[in-house]
């Protein structure tokens, strides 16, 4: 009887230690998850900002201004444009 009790006590101690370590591990993983989620949010924010920046740089009026002003480009005359019929070219 005493032997069984001792064995059970041992099992109990092992279980208790297991619980403590697993709890600790869970907490650590959780904080890692939190950090990862926070980073994901930051990336989200940055993505939004970059999108905003991209659309600001890509404004059609701005592109046109740069193309005609800085690069000296102009819209081609319809006579200078050849329209190729893809189906007919095959």
């Amino acid at each position: 009887m005493a032997k069984l009790n001792l064995l059970l006590l041992l099992v109990l101690v092992v279980c208790a230690l297991g619980l403590v370590t697993s709890q600790h591990k869970a907490r650590k993983l959780f904080s890692e998850l939190e950090r990862a989620q926070a980073r994901a949010r930051e990336f989200d924010v940055e993505y939004g900002k970059l999108q905003l920046e991209a659309s600001t740089w890509g404004l059609h009026t701005r592109i046109e201004r740069v193309a005609t002003g800085n690069l000296g480009m102009r819209v081609p005359d319809a006579r200078q444009v050849r329209v190729i019929d893809v189906a007919g070219a095959r």
């Binding site: 939004g48 991209a54 659309s55 600001t56 404004l59 059609h60 009026t61 819209v75």
Partner: protein
């Protein structure tokens, strides 16, 4: 002397019993108390305990973006910080307050005034500042000055798409335009989670169920950013050049019914709405109704052709003294006394259109206008979209039937007008218009026979040839067809003699129509007011750019289109 043996003193039994009873009673009290706490008060106590370490966090949901058909952003939400204070907790020196005011861009006195009421728990110092500025504020390290995250809506398209997209209020709910119309699907729902926090404020664990935040859905519009910005620029220039009060433009893809461009001038910057007047906010193309004038003549003529009463070559007697109905005379400035039906459209003859209309039953005319979508809501779900005005046929007097033939006594919105012209572009089918990207051809409703639609299209092409009312609508490379309108504005129950609405509705390429573009210029004030002079050039510019952007093959010889001399085009009188 003998040593006294220790005497065995018998204590009275009641003393032991007394102590025993005391102990039992004490235990009973303890047991009772613990029973009371555990069983009866447990919820209250647990709640109190959790309050020490658990918190409910709000998880904000992001509002959906609004994109054009090519995925370019027209409205995006980005996080910003709002700075607030607990006035009672603020301890700051004058220098610190000065630095804070400088960062927030506010006046120091204003800041002091806000912080003066120390009884309040919450006061906003500045809402929606850039994250970088917010960080600098945080680095000041002032007690009682706190921040929280909010979202702010940005509109990269600015004034170009302002009327269509609309805008949200400071709390990110739609107030105008599509932001309001699609509030339900755009708006996110915030979620919440209950967490355990440690002493330093770090989240340690989730407890209970987590309610995830629902992000709003993106809204993809039918608008093509390139055509839209071209349309807005052309319209803005025309409104400025002709000193007009306002202008609007609608471009519809004939195959799908998608609205590729919808522009209004004057516009506003939705990112900075400090000075806004009501007139700037109106989406005229959708919410304003106006008497369209001659742009309705093709519908009158189409009805006459459809009923078989007339053919394009039939002669219409115009006469020289105008057409007298009751005590009203309809005039024409053209010298011809006889015109063919095709010429009535080409030269935009009021008398001719009125005579054609008077030969028909008013119920048939009503039915034609009704099936063209006039007087019926276009069903775009846009806030405040106009259905126009089309009175019941049995209330028309003969003079009204005659004037309606050339677009007076009936009101339409510009979008309705553009959509109605799709029936000439699609060989008789009217296509339902949409502001959302469809991408697939839409089924139309047949209003006219293909033959009639083609005949009217040929007449509309005559109208942009030399001798028509709008030679300025032509473009090199593509065949164009369209109709001008020059309508007197209604004023105080009558018609103004000086104020006009100039309009042009047209389609191209004629051989296989792809686009309908409608332009309206309100009150041009530089002396020019004919639709063919004021509105047609805007049409030509937008149509040329749009056809090129869409890669539509040429269907006309590549010869430069000569511009007519000023005032050379046929005049119209309405």
């Amino acid at each position: 002397m003998s040593a006294a043996a220790p005497a065995l003193v018998r204590l009275p039994v009641w003393r032991a019993r007394f102590v025993m009873a005391g102990l039992v009673a004490a235990f009973a009290v303890l047991a009772g108390r613990s029973l009371y706490l555990q069983a009866m008060q447990t919820e209250f106590l647990q709640e109190k305990g959790e309050q020490r370490y658990s918190r409910v966090l709000q998880v904000p949901g992001t509002r959906g973006r609004i994109l054009d058909r090519n995925g370019e952003a027209l409205a995006i939400s980005t996080p910003v910080q709002s700075v607030w204070a607990i006035p009672g907790d603020v301890e700051a020196s004058a220098a610190q307050l000065g630095r804070l005011a400088a960062l927030l861009g506010t006046d120091v006195r204003e800041l002091r005034r806000k912080l003066a009421d120390r009884a309040r728990d919450f006061v906003y110092l500045k809402r929606q500042i850039a994250p970088e500025t917010a960080e600098k504020v945080a680095r000041l390290g002032l007690n009682g000055i706190l921040q929280h995250r909010e979202f702010r809506r940005y509109y990269p398209g600015g004034e170009v798409t302002a009327h269509l997209v609309g805008f949200t209020g400071v709390d990110e709910t739609g107030q105008e335009g599509l932001e309001l119309a699609y509030e339900k699907s755009l708006g996110g729902t915030p979620g919440s989670r209950r967490v355990i926090k440690d002493r330093r404020g770090h989240v340690v664990e989730d407890v209970g169920s987590v309610q995830p935040a629902q992000d709003g859905h993106d809204l993809v519009l039918s608008i093509d950013g390139k055509i839209q910005s071209l349309a807005y620029a052309a319209l803005k220039n025309a409104v400025a050049a002709h000193k007009a009060k306002a202008g609007a433009l609608v471009a519809i893809d004939v195959r799908t019914g998608e609205v590729l461009a919808l522009a209004n001038a004057p516009s506003f910057n939705p990112n900075n709405r400090a000075r806004l007047a009501g007139g700037q906010l109106r989406n005229r193309a959708l919410t304003d109704e106006f008497e369209p004038g001659s742009t309705l003549k093709p519908f009158t003529v189409a009805l006459a052709l459809e009923s078989g009463q007339l053919s394009p070559g039939s002669a219409v007697h115009i006469g020289s003294g105008g057409l007298r109905i009751a005590n009203y005379t309809i005039h024409d400035p053209h010298p011809q006394t006889v015109l063919s039906v095709a010429q009535v459209i080409q030269k935009s003859s009021n008398v001719g259109a009125a005579r054609i209309a008077l030969a028909m039953r008013r119920e048939d005319m009503w039915s034609m206008f009704h099936r063209a979508g006039f007087g019926v809501s276009p069903g775009l779900d846009f806030p405040g979209e106009s259905a126009g005005k089309l009175r019941a046929a049995d209330s028309w007097r003969p003079i009204e039937q005659a004037t309606m033939a050339y677009g007076h006594g009936i009101s339409v919105s510009l979008l309705q007008l553009a959509r109605a012209y799709t029936m000439f572009a699609r060989d008789g089918e009217l296509v339902p218009a949409t502001l959302l990207k469809a991408g697939v051809p839409a089924a139309g409703t047949r209003v006219l026979s293909a033959r009639t639609a083609r005949q009217v299209r040929a007449m509309l092409e005559l109208a942009v040839q030399p001798g028509g009312t709008a030679p300025r609508a032509r473009i090199m490379g593509w065949r164009v067809a369209g109709k001008t309108g020059t309508a007197h504005k209604q004023e105080n129950g009558g018609y103004s003699t000086e104020k006009y609405i100039a309009s042009f509705v047209g389609l191209a390429p004629v051989s296989e129509p792809r686009l309908v573009v409608a332009v309206m210029i309100d009150e041009p004030a530089d002396g020019q007011y004919f639709g063919g002079v004021v509105a047609a050039p805007v049409f030509a510019e937008v149509m040329r750019g749009a056809l090129r952007a869409l890669g539509v093959p040429y269907d006309a010889p590549l010869e430069p289109v000569p511009l007519p001399d000023a005032g050379d085009e046929a005049r119209e009188s309405t």
